[in-house]
């Protein structure tokens, strides 16, 4: 442009206007550099914001003016501020959050049940069975000894107590998980309403052609939090609003509208909460069976499958113990000649209800014959023999073998979930790292950008000074 200043052709007037346009160009460069610095600053400020996607300014040339010998540029403008974002990785991250949510919930819940099997420290039902049958042997070796009988009765009471305690632990765990289910339902509803609100804001902002970068990040975080709780899928419409589905096409969020999950006590399931979907009209539908992943799935699995199955196994064990011991005990005779007596209360055939009903140690039926032969231990030996007898309800194994199967399969399930969780955590870390590679803020990069834009800003400022000096030169010609 400087060459124009010395031109004396008919275009001179235009050339003078050229100094003004130099100021305009400088101004556009100043503004754009400023905007770029602001975006860089925003990136630096949000380096630790969860879910933040790095933003960058796309710059473009201004529309040139026609002139001679050709078009002359008119400067620069910031065309758009976009966020760096890969929807494929975001989708994978969502799926990973769903599974991590599921495995975390079930792994935590199962870990809390593990103390039931304290057998490594002689604390479980297996250890209780050992003590029970051991004390019974002591009665068999010394059938007329009242102290051996007293010890046996107290060991039997302790064994029943261990069953009762285990059943109570299971019930308490189930109740605690149920509370978590209720809390998760509340969380889901809060998050869907947050997403619906953001939908509206994003549509409003983008209707005027803006990119609602930060609102989208915020919605992404809410969506990920939601995915951690329940498996979801989503579609974005042309206005940028999300429709979010859970279960089998159950709409949770439709633009600004939300549909609630409700927890309804299910009387056919001990009053535990049934996760139901409220379509806004008509009866609610149960979502439980169609939830495939997420925290709710993990919680429901442990609450409705692992715990009932464990309780069922312990009930089978307790029931067979009561039945077999009573059957044999009724055949024998106590020191006082009593016979046909139950040892365990015949009505208590579950882990929670098993109880010793015999109270008088003289009535422990160690003898196979009537009164007067306190040294007869035949029935005590037969009772003790139950320990090594295979029973049909256990699949033809002994008490201890059946119990060890229960513990073993529970251990496998717990270990399986823990391993799944570990694998999922590593996968999640990898995906997060990939996301970081695309969307994360690199301080070095931002600092380099900052320098670059700062230099642009300085150069543009310099341009204004130059233009001013040019004006001064021209004005000084008149003197």
């Amino acid at each position: 442009m400087w060459h124009g200043c010395s031109d004396v052709s008919a275009e001179r007037l235009d050339r003078r206007m050229g100094i003004n346009s130099l100021v305009d160009i400088a101004k556009s460069a100043l503004f754009t550099a400023q905007q770029a610095i602001a975006v860089t600053g925003h990136n630096i400020a949000n380096v630790n914001t969860p879910g933040y996607s790095r933003q960058h300014v796309t710059m473009a040339e201004n529309i040139p003016e026609n002139g001679s010998p050709g078009q002359i540029g008119t400067g620069v403008h910031a065309e758009s501020i976009r966020r760096s974002f890969d929807s494929f990785i975001e989708d994978q991250l969502l799926a990973s959050r769903e599974r991590a949510g599921e495995f975390t919930a079930s792994s935590d819940a199962l870990a809390r049940l593990e103390p039931l099997f304290g057998d490594a420290d002689n604390q479980g039902i297996g250890a209780g069975l050992n003590e029970f049958f051991g004390a019974l042997q002591d009665v068999a070796t010394n059938p007329s000894d009242l102290s051996a009988r007293t010890v046996f009765l107290s060991k039997a009471t302790a064994l029943a107590g261990r069953f009762n305690q285990s059943a109570a632990t299971l019930t308490a765990a189930q109740q605690s998980i149920d509370n978590q289910v209720g809390q998760t339902i509340t969380d889901v509803n809060r998050l869907t309403s947050q997403i619906a609100g953001l939908n509206t804001k994003i549509a409003d902002a983008e209707s005027s052609g803006q990119q609602a970068n930060d609102l989208r990040d915020e919605r992404g975080v809410a969506l990920a939090d939601l995915a951690e709780r329940i498996e979801i899928s989503s579609i974005e419409d042309a206005t940028g609003q999300l429709t979010v589905f859970a279960g089998r096409g159950h709409v949770l969020v439709d633009k600004e509208r939300t549909y609630l999950l409700v927890g309804v006590p299910d009387l056919s399931n001990n009053g535990l909460l049934d996760v139901r979907y409220d379509a806004g009209a008509g009866p609610t539908t149960s979502l439980g069976p169609v939830i495939q992943s997420g925290r709710l799935k993990g919680l429901l699995d442990v609450r409705d499958q692992t715990i009932p199955s464990l309780r069922g196994s312990l009930d089978t064990l307790a029931s067979e113990l009561v039945t077999q011991v009573n059957l044999q005990h009724r055949l024998g005779f106590g020191l006082d000649g009593s016979t046909n007596q139950d040892f365990f209360a015949p009505t208590g055939t579950t882990a929670s209800t098993i109880a010793v009903s015999l109270t008088n140690v003289r009535q422990i039926a160690a003898s196979s014959t009537a009164v007067g032969v306190p040294g007869n231990n035949a029935n005590a030996l037969a009772l003790a023999g139950l320990r090594s007898t295979d029973f049909v309800p256990f699949g033809n194994v002994t008490f201890q073998e059946y119990y060890s199967t229960i513990a073993g399969s529970f251990g496998s399930a717990t270990q399986g979930v823990q391993r799944d969780l570990q694998a999922q955590e590593i996968l999640h870390d990898q995906l997060t790292s990939q996301r970081g590679s695309i969307s994360g803020v690199s301080m070095d990069e931002e600092l380099a950008n900052l320098l670059q834009y700062q230099r642009s800003f300085e150069a543009a400022s310099r341009m204004i000074v130059v233009a001013d000096e040019m004006f001064q030169s021209i004005l000084s010609m008149k003197r």
Partner: protein, 296 residues
Amino acid sequence: MRVSDQQLFGSTTGNLQRTKERIVHAQEQIASQQRIAKPSDDPSIFGQVILDKSALADNEQWIRNIQFGTARVAVADQTLGQTQNLISRVRELAVQARSDTTSAQGRVTIAQEVRQLHRQLIQLANTEVAGHPVFAGTKTDAPPFVLGAGDSVSYQGNSESQSIAVGPNQTTQIVLPGDQVFTGPTTNIFDDLSNVLVALETNNGAGIEVGIGNLDRAIGQISLAQGQIGAIANRLDTAYGTSLVVSAAIQQALSDQTDTDLATALTELQLQETAYQATSQTFTRLFDSSLLKFLR
């Protein structure tokens, strides 16, 4: 690949977290000396541990049973030895009294000692362990041998025997009922003694002669019982040895399966600590080399 700050922080903290978890796990194993404390530590071994503990409890119970049985059998054996001596003494006296040189008065004097020995035999036959008679069969609530009119003794125990569990599906009799030892099966030893008494007191040489023959049969009967008790003691002893060996083997297996191997655990701990330190140090180094440092 672009590397963002988040990535550095995220992967480093994730790695540090996992390393720390392993450190804690190794430390727990070292502190508790237990490699397997809960089912998920190793489900199949945990199931085996329950069975092993059950088998161990069985063996320890058998050992306990055998110790109890052995105590009773030892008392019975000792009593039978004393009984043998006692009968031999009676026989000696009878042989002495049989001699034609022994007067009627002398036989009556001998009879007094024999009567004492007869009473002593009742005491021996009523020997108790912890308040329970050894030779009463299973009717252990009262002394089995009761002195009746004259010198007659009646057996009030029964013919049942008590067995105890000494091994897998294995029981051993630990009681010889008194009617197999004192009042049968060959001869009633109390009757033999009282017959000698009558013969001595009635100065009946031929009767004494018959009595000595009976005493010989009595000695044979006690010897037989001693043999039986010896066989029982042997069986108990064998079973005891077996249970001890099995018990030790199970304990060893349990310890192998569940105890922490210190060398392995310490190596693991060392390894993880090193990893932790290395990660921490490289972490600091990475952030030290930021561009920010050079812009000051």
